[in-house]
Amino acid sequence: MLETSNASARIVQIAFLAIAAGAWYAVTTTGNISPLLLPPMDRVWSALNTLLARGQFWPPILITLTTIAQAYAIAIVTGVLVAYLVTRSRFLTEVFEPVIAGVFSIPITLFFPVFILFFGIGPASKVAYGATYGFFPIALNTIAGLSAVDERFLRSARSMGASSFDTFRHVLFPAAFPVILTGLRVGFFISFASVLGGETLSSAVGVGRNIALAAELMEPARLYAWIVFVILTAIVLNTIVSQIENRRRDY
């Protein structure tokens, strides 16, 4: 049952991609759209090959991935830690959960120039920006997960003399894990998008910078080649995350 629905989902997904590619091909060959806005597929393809052949992807992608990794790591540590502290009492949760949710509803992009002022146009500002944005979904989901942990489990741990650390490690965290995982996943893609977006807006290096540069230099083929590359990277990362998710024990 599941097998067949998976298979038909795949077919629909592939069909969708084929239609998108077909539409791209159609609009670019019939000349209905300026090649400056959307260049033909073959030109993007050759630009992609050129970039790959010259090894031009690797230095910026390395910088960008390092930036994302740092931003995400900070978002996880601070998000989980803040959520843990906030959920230590119902009062703290009632005070801080709405505050964190409220701040998250402000477009933090507005503060991007502030990050540049504080941390400069190097990767540090993107790390801070990506970490800040990624912090919110992780903290909010972890708060939700930790506050929903069944009181019975905590009481029995306490009766057996569990230390706070052991209670977190063996009871709170595993109990909240499915919900925390959603936060980690959303947080990852927000950090990813924020770093790239930040690089596009203002940066000296990185993938986002190269995309912005290609646009400024009116080189659409190169621009789309970079975007295709980012999409491929995102697909690979998404696959890795799903693998990790599927590998967890079901309970």
Partner: protein
């Protein structure tokens, strides 16, 4: 065979314990327990019986140091109870508190870790406790792969494996069907006769109370007070034959007579509403 004599030392002494929930005088204030004093002897099986909401779980949690009483004091041996005493007291709660994310073996291991049992004893303790409840072959299963009854047996085994002198049990068999309860009750009687533990047991089943207890504390409707204490003079382990003796039904009827009025009163004051239990 163990028989209980009145000169056994006191394991738990409860002195003038009262418990109030909510601010005194406020509309939501509930007096759950009023001035409870009771000595529980070493090696005794003591049952708490009373209408729903009379404060049995509250009393058990206070004795185990999970809540602190509004007034009064509890001593275990010569220690005043101020918090959990994992070295002296273990709990078996109504619903299984096995962690669903761990296998049975891991559940035992983590309990030993919490309680700081030396690591080299873990394996042996787990094996013998599971053996005692006939669940050895399920050691690598997850709790959700077991039936409710099996889970509760394992839960009981974990309480026993912690090897504390005192075990507090809050309706441990409530979720089970009557036959399973009876069988587990027999097993428990045998297990405990062999280990001489002090047990405080909350139940709503009169038969279970008579079958297992040395003494039965009958409580009044809220605010919970001790109405009377019924003695069951019958050595452990008890065989199912005990249930067929006239004395068994006499005691059972006596308890029912004592409880009837309290239960009527509890229904009258709460409108018969029953809180979801498991507290």
């Amino acid at each position: 065979m163990t028989t209980l004599s009145n000169d056994k030392p006191t394991a738990i002494s409860i002195r003038n314990v009262s418990q109030r929930y909510g601010e005194a005088g406020s509309s939501g204030a509930v007096v759950a327990l009023q001035d409870i004093s009771l000595d529980i002897r070493q090696g005794e099986f003591l049952c708490l019986l009373g209408p729903s909401g009379c404060g049995k779980s509250t009393l058990l949690n206070i004795v185990g140091g999970l809540f602190s009483a509004t007034e009064g004091q509890v001593k275990v041996g010569d220690k005043i109870v101020k918090g959990p005493l994992p070295a002296d007291i273990s709990f078996v709660f109504q619903e299984s508190t096995l962690y669903p994310w761990y296998t049975i073996r891991e559940n035992f291991d983590v309990a030993f870790k919490f309680q700081r049992v030396p690591r080299n004893e873990w394996k042996e303790r787990t094996a013998s406790a599971l053996q005692a409840v006939g669940m050895s072959s399920f050691i690598d299963h997850f709790p959700n792969q077991l039936s409710v009854g099996m889970r509760q047996r394992v839960n009981l085994a974990r309480g026993i494996a912690l090897k504390t002198d005192i075990i507090l049990m809050d309706e441990p068999f409530a979720a089970l069907d009557e036959q399973t309860r009876m069988v587990l009750g027999e097993d428990l009687s045998e297990l405990l006769a062999a280990t001489k533990k002090t047990i405080v047991f909350v139940t709503h089943s009169l038969a279970e109370a008579v079958f297992l207890s040395d003494r039965i504390v009958v409580m009044t409707a809220r605010p919970g007070r001790i109405k009377t204490i019924v003695e069951v003079n019958e050595p452990h382990p008890r065989s199912p034959d005990f249930m067929l003796q006239p004395r068994f039904s006499e005691l059972r009827n006596e308890l029912y007579a004592l409880l009837r009025d309290e239960i009527r009163q509890a229904i009258a004051t709460t409108g018969g509403s029953v809180r979801p239990s498991g507290d």
